[in-house]
Chain length 418, copies 2
């Protein structure tokens, strides 16, 4: 039987436009991967009567209702009490949830374990529910079934909502999916979404099972192959030939399959090969280092780096020769190379990347245009510099520049040409 | 008479999670500024029957319905035909709209003026409507009134939706707005959301105009005061005493009013005072530098920094004495201070921040617990180190650690105690 989910986001801040409903985006993707169809998203404020009406409408058109938000102490745990009421449930005090919250506050205040009294409110959950432990914040979520409808409540902050869905709600929903849905993501760097899409459009339109869909990130494209079958092996067998075909078609532009990001691929390769890395960053201003150190375990191979935002830091710390800076300017091929060599010598790492460019919004003092970026890789065999013309916002230019630097590392470590 | 708007976004890509509903965020903000209340957002796919049902629900609970998306030729102008039908209108060919579209394509292809034939479809609009000329794309929008409901249709791409709302829909709605809504945000760092909330709960519940509402970010709280009045000055006069009271109550914990972020406050202060900054980062791994350089104009005062992820980089680049590292460990008060001093000397900046700590997921090799962080500020008058116990995910611990470092800069530059 096909299942239909409806997402209800609770929060006046959404209706005031303070934030966008990114929870709905994240959950929609995950549900689509599970083969569960979403027909509607609804957003409603912190108002019990209007939330009740939204739930009544949703009951008519979905058999899975997922709420996000309205679980914390500041909103009086609005969502839990309204949903419990809509489905004829009482709230009961969950000792286990209370204990977990207390433990969270002991970690927060190791001296006193002080927890504001109103936090205990969050331990009241609908009778007979499956509590979802919150390892990413305080408010627990939960799931229950009533009248043929599965109800799932998740916290609002995306940093809690997304992992709680994946680790708590997906197992809770597992029995609803008839057969399994398996997805594989082929990740491409170096071709725009519209180029990839026009190359594949006919093929994608002709496909039914598996399906093939492109998703664009900054300068990257993810091609997701999704197959539905009676069991996982059969689904994987449907995916395999399409995956093989994409690998052949896009060749070295494919940086990974089912990899979360370019930096994750680099980190894995560095660890496998026991190679260390450092970074010298001008226009990316720490973004490359930040992205690598977002990943647990980065310290095994990432030694660190230098953010040389000012030219004097390029000279004094990275030893970029002053005549080179004077002659070519900070945004130039030779300076990018010298920065990479400089940080590699300084930190004693095996490899080093460097980025210098104009992120905007204004051209630099030598009238280099916004978007001009040089990314360099220094290796024991020599130094390579790539020239990039980025477009879009400051944020996008910086992300794409970081992607290029990471792509150089990936190519070096897998023996591909630069 | 108070007006209630409902936003209906049309697009299967929203239900698949390919994009977030940022149109709803933009329009909600604008409507709130006009004094028009929004009770619900709905998202529905490119499906006539489900869109019709969403419109029927919206008619019951709003007197302004604004749709976004589903206007272009690729979706068969779904929204226009369904909305016209729901409100008993015929579609009629609008000569003026067709001419404008042709002109747009002449600008796009000055040689041929070539326009795909199906674009003419977009010139069919509900009878008696006010067409909204699209100067930012091709699909015209429109507004009409039927049965006491104002209906507004806008294109989906945010780059067309936002300006068309502002320049076409707002004038169309002007006669409906009785007064204006003004908001001010008081931003607090150093108290948790639930602590702020328990301090203010009684007051917030008792308030009607202006209202006061808390919003939490990582380690920060935003208190938003919102007033409604006949004109802007009167609304501001309602806000002023509440703002004053919050400033007195939270004192130096308030880092700004209507400021976007701690780093933006620091950047503004640094520029005002002509003071330069650098950063030495261990567990934040470049995040502080990244956040500061996210802001255009950072290069005027931010010289750069060092990501000293490995201890040998702390010693070799930042000159942290080896005996200190051996005796106290990399995650310690004296090492944080020495890192800040080291990067300040290295870059020749006036001020320097440093962060060292355990972001997790594992304790460090000296068994320091996850979440223990030291943030330091080095100044011409001396060095100060703050000890922090963070909780939550690796991402959250890093963000909060960066916030503390920035808070030290803010306090120093405004003459507050650390």
């Amino acid at each position: 039987m096909a299942h239909i989910a409806e997402l209800i986001a609770v929060g006046t801040e959404l209706l005031l436009g303070s934030i966008a409903n990114t929870d709905a985006q994240i959950l929609s993707r995950e549900l689509s991967a599970l083969g569960i169809t979403v027909y509607y998203h609804t957003v409603v404020g912190d108002n019990p009567e209007r939330l009740r009406r939204a739930v009544e409408v949703a009951k008519e058109r979905a058999d899975i209702i997922i709420t996000t938000g309205g679980l914390g102490p500041t909103c009086d745990d609005l969502t839990k009490s309204v949903l419990a009421q809509c489905f004829g449930k009482e709230l009961v005090f969950n000792q286990e949830a209370a204990k977990r919250m207390a433990a969270y506050f002991w970690r927060l205040h190791p001296d006193t374990g002080e927890m504001p009294e109103n936090n205990y409110q969050q331990a009241w959950l609908p009778e007979g529910c499956v509590p979802f432990q919150n390892d990413w914040g305080t408010a627990p979520g939960c799931g229950f079934e009533a009248g043929g409808v599965r109800v799932i409540m998740l916290p609002g902050p995306p940093s809690e909502c997304a992992p709680m869905f994946r680790h708590r709600a997906v197992p809770y929903l597992q029995d609803l999916t008839d057969g399994v849905i398996v997805s594989r993501s082929v990740r491409i760097f170096g071709l725009g979404e519209s180029e990839v899409e026009s190359l594949l459009r006919e093929q994608m339109n002709a496909m039914e099972n598996p399906t093939l869909a492109p998703y664009a990130k900054e300068g990257e494209v993810e091609l997701r192959i999704t197959a539905k079958a009676g069991d996982e092996d059969s689904a994987r067998a449907l995916i395999a030939p399409v995956e093989q075909q994409l690998l052949e078609r896009f060749g070295e532009l494919v940086y990974g399959v089912d990899e979360p990001s370019l930096e994750a691929v680099c980190l894995r390769l560095l660890r496998e090969k026991g190679v260390t890395l450092s970074a010298a960053e001008s226009c990316t201003g720490g973004l490359i280092a930040k992205r690598i150190t977002d990943l647990p375990g980065a310290s095994a191979v990432f030694k660190g780096g230098v953010v040389s935002y000012w030219s004097e830091v390029k000279h004094n710390v990275l030893n970029v020769p002053q005549p080179l800076l004077d002659r070519c300017g900070a945004v130039s091929q030779p300076v990018a190379g010298a920065m990479a060599q400089g940080v590699r010598t300084l930190t004693g790492s095996d490899l080093a990347v460097a980025v210098t460019g104009v992120a905007g919004p204004e051209p630099d003092d030598r009238d280099n245009p916004v978007g001009l970026v040089f990314a360099a890789l220094s290796t024991p065999e020599g130094t390579y510099v790539r020239e990039i013309y980025g477009a879009g916002s400051r944020e996008r230019i910086r992300q794409v520049a970081a992607n290029h630097a990471l792509d150089l590392v990936r190519r070096y470590l897998t023996g591909l040409p630069f």
